[in-house]
């Protein structure tokens, strides 16, 4: 099984209190904030590694990010991926989800045949959840989001194969059968990612990271980056979080009912 895992470096949530919004440019000011692998992408990678352990094959990391992200890819390799491709070019800067998906799809076409692409369902910074679905559209394959379990694969005699997956819904899940090649966007319930091991770190030092630019991908610069992005950020702001206090003065049983009702009315449960 050849599996591509899409990985996006994102600012480490532990340092988000140091992050600010640029008042006029409306972008995140991330200077000095270390990056980490987008948390759900670790779940995607974990799932890929488990599939490889069971069915054999190869796990490739694909990422579009600035060159300083090499260490993030090294971390993904240390977790156990076989090799990585980093798409890096000044022309890619400012890409919206459409341009990002376009770039990723061009890279996938050059990487060669694959059976599965695994993405996180969404990132912790952009949080759009667009990239997985758009990438599957660009590639003309099936895509399923909110995947919380891969039950297994059926390999037919004619060489085709299909996967049976569970897609998380609000009250439960939908069981879906889909033909490979297939793109799955995973949620955190799917697994618990393994820790990087020290021997994994040593092995990763000998693994290949291929860097590709816009011209390597034969991409027209006007199709990517700010120029190729139809989405324009209208506004970006920090919501004001305010604490409110209400005192419930009732007997314990009544009070708990009232509090429960208030929580329910706010749609919190």
């Amino acid at each position: 099984m050849r599996i591509i895992v899409c990985v996006k470096p994102v600012p480490d949530p532990r340092h988000w209190n140091r992050m600010s919004l640029h008042p006029t440019l409306k972008v995140l000011v991330r200077e000095g904030i270390p990056n980490v692998v987008n948390p759900l992408d670790r779940h995607a990678l974990e799932e890929a590694l488990r599939i490889r352990e069971r069915y054999g094959g190869e796990v490739m990391i694909l990422s579009m990010a600035p060159l300083f992200s090499l260490s993030i890819l090294r971390e993904a390799l240390a977790m156990g991926a076989d090799r990585a491709v980093l798409l890096s070019d000044k022309a890619f800067a400012g890409s919206d989800t459409l341009a990002t998906s376009h770039i990723l799809s061009e890279a996938v076409k050059r990487i060669g045949p694959f059976d599965l692409i695994l993405c996180g369902n969404q990132t912790i910074d952009g949080w759009t959840g667009h990239v997985g679905p758009q990438l599957s559209e660009f590639l003309g394959i099936e895509g399923i989001s909110f995947v919380k379990m891969i039950e297994g694969f059926h390999f037919e005699e004619d060489g085709t194969a299909k996967a049976i997956v569970r897609k998380k819904t609000e009250g439960g899940y939908v069981r879906i059968e889909a033909r490979l090649p297939l793109l799955l966007s995973v949620v955190k319930e799917i697994n618990t990612p393994r820790y990087v091991t020290f021997s994994g770190i040593l092995e990763a030092e000998r693994k290949e990271i291929q860097v590709m630019s816009a011209s390597d991908l034969r991409i027209d610069p006007s199709q990517v980056g700010l120029a190729g992005s139809p989405t324009k950020m209208a506004d970006l702001f920090m919501p004001e979080v305010k604490r409110r206090r209400e005192v419930v003065q009732e007997k314990p049983e009544m009070a708990s009912k009232l509090i429960f009702e208030k929580i329910r009315q706010r749609g919190l449960i």
Binding site: A78, Y195, F198
Partner: protein, 380 residues
Amino acid sequence: MDFKLSEREELLRKTVREFAEREIAPRMEAMEETGEFPVDLLKKMGEIGILGVITPPEYGGVGLGNLARIIILEELGRVCPAIPMALQVHHMATHALSAFANEEQKRKYLPPLAKGETMGVVAVTEPSGGSDVAGMKTSARLEGDRYILNGRKCFITNAHASDIWVVIARTGEGGKGLSAFIVERGFPGAKLGRKENKVGLRGAITGELVFQNCEVPKANLLGHEGDGMNIAIRNIVETGRPGMASVALGILNAVLEQAVKFANERILYGKPISSLQMIQSHLADIYADLEISRLLVYRVGWMRDQNIRCDAESALAKQFSCEAAARSARKAIEIHGSYGILREYPVQRLLRDALVTIPAGGTAEVARLVMARQALSLVK
């Protein structure tokens, strides 16, 4: 001279930090309460490579070296100093075996230690005085194909959680009459004594080992008869003191974080107290203690990795960083005002932990003796 950590070292740090925050931090309270080491974490730490970091790959370790070990202990200590206290002695046991055991002994005892099947122990100190190693009383008498051990070891880290003990005992007269043995907990006559109730580093077990006509096969002699003093000294200089210094370094990281956090959150006169000059002066002192300790400890790791002798440097790193941790923890408590002495604020625990690091691995006075010897040798 290169002060920049490599990509490998940065990744090690990140990995261990994540493990510590996710797996160890939630266990802190229970460790404080019960004084028990969370032995169920051993297997995971073994898989990651934490336990076998200085054990060669041929014997189940990862062989990443001494600087890597220091970074790992520092990161663990930032979250919970008791864990690296226990692990640093575990590493001492693996070092004693890697450096002095024969092939057969290495193949038998190193893999279970590196994998986390059990913890390691190095037992030198006796009730007769930890500083006076040559004065120890535990005896080992050769009878046929076995040694018979009699005596008592105290303040032994991991005692009640270990199956493999490196024990120094007397086979002859004076300092030259000491020998090292590998003792299994299951050997006849090997017993556990009391478990100490410490004020700090509570999650690391400290206790007694008792030998009552304990039968140790001759094949379990480490090195040769008479090597005991050398093994004990090299072990403490090359792993024990840098290890204790790393625990203190971890404490200093936590002290700085807690002090800055509180100083920024506590509002007086309408402003955070971090804007007060005298508070800033405390913070500057803590920062200096942290940075100086780190330079000293990392240097020892680097020297060890280059195979450079580091007796005085190791003693300096140990003495400075352990005392720095205690004095900085006190400053952090002062920054907290009265909140600093409440149980729910970690600074009081950091002070208790720091105090315990000072005698462990040799006292500050003994470390100063080593440094003074070096100073006296510099000018003739």
